[in-house]
């Protein structure tokens, strides 16, 4: 019995040869590629796709990984970040996966990357034309927490009936005096679809607007892909008397002195003393030089 398993095992002869290039079989890649093209053609609309079971857990980037696997080639240079950092364990794990199955160069440099897969951040370095940023998305439906039913939210998108979102933001103002939503802040893409920018802090929302890079969003568990083409207007929802605002810090980065980057707060001792450092490790290292 164990012999037959050894024959069947994908691990026999080394994992990199036993699986197809970039892990996914060609038929699956074609299916994902078709979904990506439709996603680009209808900016901000969530295209259902036949998401596969990946060798990493749902919720840990399987959507982003499938999108990256469908687009990546040997000529690419891949950067993977989680919370803005290249060396967080999940980023390391995903980068290792692609280095192994796609024989691809990896980098921590935002500028040098042709594909950037990210969870929860957009790099501080302005993306350029030709780059593709792939977002890992947990809940692709921006209306989900207001309306849990897919059948309902799909109709709301079809009708551009977004009153429920406006009401929710308005209630936040009534309660807190301002829009208290801080991350996964909803955006309107090209004036048509309300879209979840994934759980990036609202600090990063302005970077999505008319970005020269292509933005691809992959939700593996929920089996949706969506996209924002380059140069496409992405407006963070707000009201005339309560305009959209991003987070600000009184402090600067304790390592590089940056005043323009998103800062992580680090508790350094038992008395609760804090320091602030850049969340984007590549940006921080560049500015320390």
């Amino acid at each position: 019995m164990s012999e037959s398993i050894a024959d069947a095992s994908p691990a026999s002869g080394g994992p990199d040869q036993a699986y197809n290039y970039a892990y996914l079989d060609e038929q699956t890649k074609r299916m994902i590629r078709r979904a990506i093209l439709k996603a680009v053609a209808v900016p901000g609309y969530q295209v259902p796709f036949g998401g596969r079971e990946m060798p990493l857990p749902y919720g840990w980037g399987t959507g982003g990984i499938q999108v990256t696997a469908a687009i990546i080639g040997r000529e690419d240079t891949l950067k993977v970040i989680d919370q803005g950092a290249d060396d967080t364990t999940n980023a390391v794990s995903i980068r290792r996966f692609f280095a192994k199955v796609a024989d691809v160069a990896t980098t921590t440099s935002t500028e040098d990357a042709s594909i950037i897969q990210t969870r929860h951040r957009v790099p501080e370095t302005r993306l350029r034309e030709g780059q593709i940023i792939v977002f890992q998305v947990p809940i692709p439906e921006p209306l989900r927490m207001l309306e849990p039913r897919e059948t309902e939210t799909r109709t709301l998108h079809a009708l551009s009936e977004y009153g429920v979102m406006q009401v929710s933001l308005y209630e936040s103002i009534a309660r807190h005096g301002r829009i208290a939503k801080t991350y996964n802040y909803p955006v309107l893409v090209n004036g048509r679809y309300i879209m979840s920018p994934s759980p990036i802090p609202k600090f990063d929302n302005p970077k999505l607007d008319r970005s020269p890079a292509l933005q691809l969003y992959g939700a593996g568990r929920e089996k949706r892909i969506y996209a924002v083409p380059p140069h496409t207007p992405v407006k963070s929802l707000d009201f005339d008397d309560h305009p959209f605002e991003i987070e600000r810090w009184d402090e600067c980065c304790a390592l590089c002195g940056s005043r323009e980057s998103f800062l992580d707060e680090v508790i350094v001792d038992d008395s609760g003393k804090r320091m602030f450092v850049c969340s984007d490790t590549d940006w921080c290292e560049r500015h320390q030089r």
């Binding site: 078709r34 093209l37 439709k38 209808v42 687009i71 799909r154 020269p212 083409p229 380059p230 496409t232």
Partner: protein
């Protein structure tokens, strides 16, 4: 059965490069990209048309052939290399290969308000990209507006396009091909004279 022309030489890698070229094109509507890895294909079909069908079509995507392409050699080639079912009813097609002369958009799937992705992608072979009549394109993927020259489609074609664009988010998407070149026109793009 006569000998078929070869398909992709190195499927995973050729298909990946071809797809990235198509993705680049649809992300930058009007941009002319070269499909370097596209195979020659059957006689009467250009390499770019062949390349994008071999990259994207398979047994899950019904294919409709315009009259100029509905020949045995083309059918055999595409059926063998893609496995795509060839359909006579254009409403069933996920992909279509046609020339600009028969390009009326009527009858191809345009998706629904709830599922606008369930729409056809038309591969239209034209005389040349980058020369011919120039029009102004605007929309997602284009920084402001760009002037795009395509030799082939006539005024009637562009009128039909505007009707298609007006259906947004429904509508068909177009991949224009000529020789080894390709330019994309997604439904989100408005085209003016």
């Amino acid at each position: 059965m006569r000998d078929l022309a070869p398909g992709l030489a190195d499927p995973p890698h050729d298909a990946q490069r071809l797809f990235r070229a198509v993705l680049d094109a649809i992300s930058h509507p009007g941009r002319v990209v070269e499909l370097i890895d596209a195979p020659a294909g059957p006689s009467g079909v250009g390499p770019a048309a062949t390349g994008c069908l071999l990259t994207l079509a398979d047994r899950d995507t019904p294919l409709w052939l315009g009259p100029a392409y509905d020949h045995e050699a083309v059918r055999d080639y595409l059926r063998f290399h893609t496995g795509a079912p060839l359909v006579a009813d254009r409403a069933q097609a996920t992909f279509a290969l046609l020339s600009p002369e028969v390009a009326e958009f009527d009858g191809f799937a345009i998706g629904t308000d709830s599922y606008p992705d369930r729409s056809a992608t038309l591969v239209i072979e034209v005389a040349a990209l980058g020369s011919g009549a120039t029009r102004r394109w605007r929309g997602p993927g284009i920084d402001g507006a760009s002037r795009v020259a395509i030799d082939g489609p006539d005024d009637r074609f562009w009128q039909a396009w505007n009707e298609n664009h007006a259906l947004f988010p429904c509508g068909v998407d177009i991949l224009f091909v000529a020789g080894r070149q390709l330019a994309a026109l997604p439904r989100s793009i408005a085209v003016e004279a």
